[in-house]
Amino acid sequence: MFRPGTGTAWGCVEMTRVDVARLPRQATRDAYGEALVAAGRADARVVALDADLSGSTKSQKFGALFPERFFNVGIAEQNMIGMAAGLAAAGKIPFASSFAIFVTGRAFEQVRQSVAYPGLPVRLVGSHSGVTVGQDGSSHQAIEDIALMRVLPHMTVLVPADGPSTRALVNESLSIEGPVYLRLGRPAVPVLYGEGGFAAPPFKAGGSVTLLAGRDATIVACGVMVAEAVTAAYRAEAIGLSVGVIDAYSVKPLDRDAVLAAARATGALVTAEEHSVIGGLGGAVAETVAEEYPVPVIRVGLLDRFGESGAPDELLKLCRLMADDILAAVRRAVAVKR
């Protein structure tokens, strides 16, 4: 069943619930691998680079199909970004992938100086973001990549929640002029958009999707946390709270209008991201509303701590990134509002 995806029909009652737990699952990195191949087919300017993780980031298939347009630079992320900048300066559209912490962190200053400053159309692709990386532990779990990329001028930061939106955003990125950071995850996550889920709107830089409308509070989420946010909103009904959900897949530019409209309509916001509560989506939302329409913003995310080893599900629990944690934040936001 398809449902209305976007809209600001505040207070409207949902017809049928999306049963998140029963949706099919796909990892955003897998969707990326498919979309990259499609982009490579559609546009000869598309080239791809990887740093010895092409099997994990799923750029491998592109490499197999277009070997002359694929560069595996080995374990050398800084050079990967520099080469991507050079390729872009010569008219190519490079997708440079690695684990999120390495593409944004190990090569931060290369991204800044060689890519963001001149505004070159490099697409930085960070797979394995957040604690759902799991057993590898802290060194491989990016919890600060959104903050790192968001502070760079000219940068677009996209954090898709599922496969279909990942595919749409890869495609959309082809027409974005400057650099783009695309944040992906390791585990299979619910396919939120499409059959049985929400209707997929056009995904674009600066956009967002209002999945559920609410009266008492709105959850602004991105990535894997969107599904948790939907679950939290449904659970909120049981305690008499009407809670909206926005999929803020475009963390930068943030959909200011949607966020401010939610602040005005519900008076309380909760943000949810698989990222530090510092400087990421939560920071973006707090900064935005503080400027125009101050309302409580309770940030759900890693509470200024590193991740650790463990099963992804257990880590989400341990780090308080579950639907119930979001729900607790909603209650707190509503309490601060009063």
Binding site: D52, N72, I75, D136, G137, S138, G310
Partner: protein, 300 residues
């Protein structure tokens, strides 16, 4: 090592060279057993590059390094940096068998709340000197450790094990340059030159010719068969000669060494054996799948 140094090593055992070699070969075998059990139990992890380092780690932890498991922060201890941090299983096995922590803890590898993180962390695991896992950073830390010993006029040494794929990281060469420039001859690097990285053979992904490379950075380069105990011990002894230059031992190894179906397979870089595969592997290593390999291991 000078006599004085080896005497001070709490683990050192009397005996003929042959006995010493046999003892270390047995230690390497036990490390392999633990690596396989540990990763199978965890359901993930990096057996390939752990197995290729087994003899190197056995020689270091059961002979060369001056350590006292009862006093993990004994100031005069030698320092070891596992720059290729994904090989944590071999390090954890060595630390457990040497008695830094109970062997049973190995079963908690990579589990939520375990002191044995997926990559080595100095704050959770006794005997782990620095935190690694992001490749290319360990040699710089080893330089810092060696520099600290130099400042203090202390006699302890710093050892650092790198992967061959890892040496593609530019930071490794910043550190190599600095170690030579600062004449850190109390520092020894070892390269586990197993010829494989994640996406395939190093020669195909991004070739690195280790020997001329390190030479051009002013290091004293030694070579060894990384699975030959006598070869490794000789190279380690030579590396400590102290000539005003840091030394590197380029160790020819086989990734997945010791388990026929893992040897030379890039695929076994980062996945755990199934219970059946574990049983086959343990059989090849001369022990049944059940129970500890040898009660208490070779820990003394």
């Amino acid at each position: 090592m000078t006599d004085q140094r080896t005497k001070a090593a709490p683990h050192n055992q009397p005996g003929t060279p042959e006995e010493r070699h046999a003892r270390l070969a047995e230690a390497a075998r036990q490390l392999r057993v633990e690596i396989l059990r540990m990763t199978a139990q965890a359901g993930s992890g990096h057996p390939g590059g752990s197995l290729s380092s087994a003899e190197i780690i056995a020689c270091l932890y059961f002979d060369v390094l001056r350590l006292d498991p009862a006093r993990p922060s004994w100031p005069e201890r030698d320092r070891f940096v596992l720059s290729k941090g994904h090989a944590a299983p071999v390090l954890y096995a060595a630390l457990a068998l040497r008695g830094f922590f109970p062997r049973e803890l190995l079963a908690t590898l990579r589990k939520t709340g375990s002191c044995l993180q997926g990559h080595p962390h100095m704050r959770t695991t006794p005997g782990v000197e620095v935190s690694t896992g992001s490749l290319g950073q360990g040699l710089s830390m080893a330089c810092g450790l060696a520099a600290a010993a130099r400042i203090d006029g202390a006699g302890w040494r710093t050892w650092c094990l790198l992967g061959d794929g890892e040496t593609q990281e530019g930071q490794v060469w910043e550190a190599a340059e600095a170690a030579a420039h600062f004449r850190l001859d109390n520092l020894v690097a070892l390269v586990d030159n197993n010829g494989l990285q994640i996406d395939g053979p190093v020669s195909q992904v991004m070739a690195v010719d280790q020997v001329p490379r390190w030479q051009s950075f002013g290091w004293r380069v030694l070579e060894a068969d990384g699975h030959s105990i006598p070869d490794l011990l000789a190279a380690m002894q030579a590396a400590l000669a102290g000539s005003g230059r840091p030394a590197v031992i380029v160790c020819r190894t086989t990734k997945g060494k010791g388990v026929s179906f893992m040897e030379g397979q890039a695929d076994w870089h980062g996945k755990a054996p199934t219970p059946e595969q574990l049983a086959r592997a343990l059989e090849e290593l001369g022990c049944s799948g059940q129970g500890p390999a040898l009660p208490g291991g070779v820990s003394r």
